[in-house]
């Protein structure tokens, strides 16, 4: 099957753009893991909640022209929601000092995911909604690109820059980086590691919510919309290595590009499968760590 160079370029550009949002998803997963050593399986539900907040705020208050104001609203409200969820449901697993507490916390997030999906399904029904988009189609050279996709990836880049700033340039970021290196270490420096967990969890799920908000008009809004994007997030994390921020970036771009190439060269119908093929190959080559991951739990 032959593809024109122009079409291929267009696919690759789309792949890069969606890759930025995979990075955002993966960063949320990997960031929570790097601080709390737990996997948050409810990431997709926070993505879903973010997309619903976007939909409600745009459709009820702002209108599609002012969609970009709804994105920080979605991010901040899910940040607060995440902090509350962490305090009420996750922290009790960490406070009692029992064995395998990160595993218990992980199980809690699975239950939370099912619960959140169920509640939203009861409340909103299974319908797909769209906040609508008034973004014009962009013309990049000879290539037409859907405006809401361009906007989503630019929004994703802004969120990544903001995340970088918070982690590298603020006091909270200093404490979070230290906690990622050694939980015991920050505790013996007198820093309250449970407070840091709460902030990290809030930040991580806020990243997912922002991805959901940015993609609301592209992938639509419905109770199960978090599944596919989150799966992509986990693919990226496995590819790049759990706990690795450079891994999340390289992995996000790689999955985005592989999907685009697969769609262009093989078939669009299997778009969601190509990433898995790449993941399988990397796992065969570097089964322990992915591309950049930390070597843990070799026992």
């Amino acid at each position: 099957m032959s593809v024109s160079a122009e079409l291929l370029e267009q696919y690759l550009l789309t792949g890069l753009m969606i890759g930025v949002l995979y990075i955002v998803m993966a960063l949320g997963i990997t960031f929570i893991y790097s601080i709390m050593k737990m996997t948050n399986w409810a990431m997709g539900e926070f993505y879903m909640i973010g997309s619903f907040v976007q939909y409600l705020v745009v459709s009820r208050f702002l209108g599609p022209d002012l969609w970009f104001i709804a994105v920080p609203v979605a991010g901040l409200s899910v940040f607060v929601l995440g902090m509350i969820v962490e305090r009420v449901l996750i922290r009790p697993m960490f406070e009692r000092g029992m064995e395998a507490r990160a595993e218990y916390a992980t199980v809690v997030t699975i239950a939370l995911a099912i619960l959140a999906r169920g509640i939203v399904q009861i409340w909103s029904g299974p319908f797909e909604r769209s906040p609508g988009s008034t973004m014009p189609t962009f013309q990049i050279g000879p290539l037409p690109i859907a405006g809401d996709r361009v906007a989503a990836s630019i929004g994703g880049l802004i969120v990544l820059a903001l995340f970088w700033f918070v982690v590298k340039r603020t006091w909270v970021g200093l404490a979070l980086r230290a906690a990622a290196q050694s939980r015991d270490g920050v505790q013996s420096a007198g820093v309250d590691v449970l407070r840091l967990d709460q902030i990290a969890f809030g930040m991580g799920v806020a990243l997912a919510a922002v991805a959901g908000a940015l993609l609301a008009s592209v992938y639509l809004v419905y109770p199960l919309n978090g599944l596919i994007t989150t799966t992509k997030g986990f693919e990226v994390v496995i590819l790049g290595g759990l706990g690795s921020i450079p891994g999340a970036i390289v992995g996000g771009i790689a999955i985005g590009l592989v999907e685009a190439l697969g769609a262009a060269l093989v078939a669009t119908n299997y778009q969601n499968a190509y990433g898995f093929v790449l993941v399988l190959i990397i796992l065969l080559l570097r089964p322990r760590t992915g591309l950049f991951g930390e070597r843990v739990r070799t026992a």
Partner: protein, 256 residues
């Protein structure tokens, strides 16, 4: 904020009363009573296995004592977590530096300023930065500030480790576990200078565990000696080094 009101000058700053701690059959600390006066730099010596590190762990809350009491300024610390104890102003270092290897020297210093809350007010931020500058100057680590802690020499790491404790606002009592072990004389001198400076300017009380007799003699007016889990004796370094019980503890029973 967390400190109880001072119980008055007659109460020692840090007090271990009849403290015991065993691990299985090993009785690491047996009925140890130790009192540190305000503003004192006390030495703690003893042969290997005498129970020095266990005592430090009990004092700093890593293990609770199985019997006896630990009091800071008259208030019992038993049952508090190490973090709660450090918030009351009792801090400790570990034999191997617990620095954040991939973070810079400066970040390592700033971190303990976040001990109260990860969200600092402006004035607190400014004070922390000023204090970090002062410590970078005192330790002469200023020119290494942007390097990662991992890239420092062992001695520089030990110096930085001691300095991080002084970032805690209301540090009252600082337990230093072997701060001089295996460190070159120049850096050893800098650590001593730093301890003396903080003792003089902030009235910080120290308990210094060390094997280096010459350094202990130089730094500490009074020294406590542990042997086989018990407090053997206390006194000036001169008194202690003349004590036959101490000599036999170091040389082994029947050795002297």
């Amino acid at each position: 904020m967390f400190a109880p009101p001072s119980a008055g000058p007659s109460v020692p700053l840090l007090e271990a009363v009849d403290v015991s701690r065993a691990f299985g059959g090993v009785r690491a600390n047996q009925g140890i009573t130790l009192r540190l006066e305000r503003g004192e730099i006390r030495g703690l010596i003893g042969p290997n296995g005498a129970g020095k590190t266990t005592l430090t762990n009990v004092l700093s809350g890593i293990y609770p004592p199985q019997s006896g009491d630990v009091r800071l300024d008259g208030a019992s610390l038993v049952g508090l977590t190490p973090m709660q104890i450090s918030r009351r102003g009792l801090l400790r270092t570990f034999q191997t530096p617990k620095l954040f290897g991939s973070m810079t020297v400066e970040d390592n210093l700033l971190l303990p300023a976040l001990a109260r809350s990860p969200l600092l007010g402006r004035s607190h931020q400014r004070r922390a930065r000023e204090r970090a500058e002062e410590l970078l100057e005192l330790t002469r680590l200023g020119r290494l500030r942007r390097l990662t802690a991992r890239s420092l020499s062992g001695g520089e790491q030990a110096l930085l480790q001691v300095a991080t404790g002084f970032m805690v606002d209301d540090l009252r009592c600082y337990l230093l576990d072997e701060p001089f072990a295996g460190i070159n004389p120049v850096l050893k001198e800098r650590i001593i200078e730093l301890i003396r400076h903080e003792n003089r300017t902030h009235g910080t009380t120290f308990l210094v565990i060390s094997h280096e007799m010459a350094t202990v003699r130089q730094l500490c007016a009074r020294v406590s000696v542990l042997a086989e889990g018990r407090l053997l004796t206390e006194g000036t370094m001169d008194e202690i080094s003349a004590d036959p019980a101490v000599i036999s503890a170091y040389l082994g029973k029947g050795g002297a």
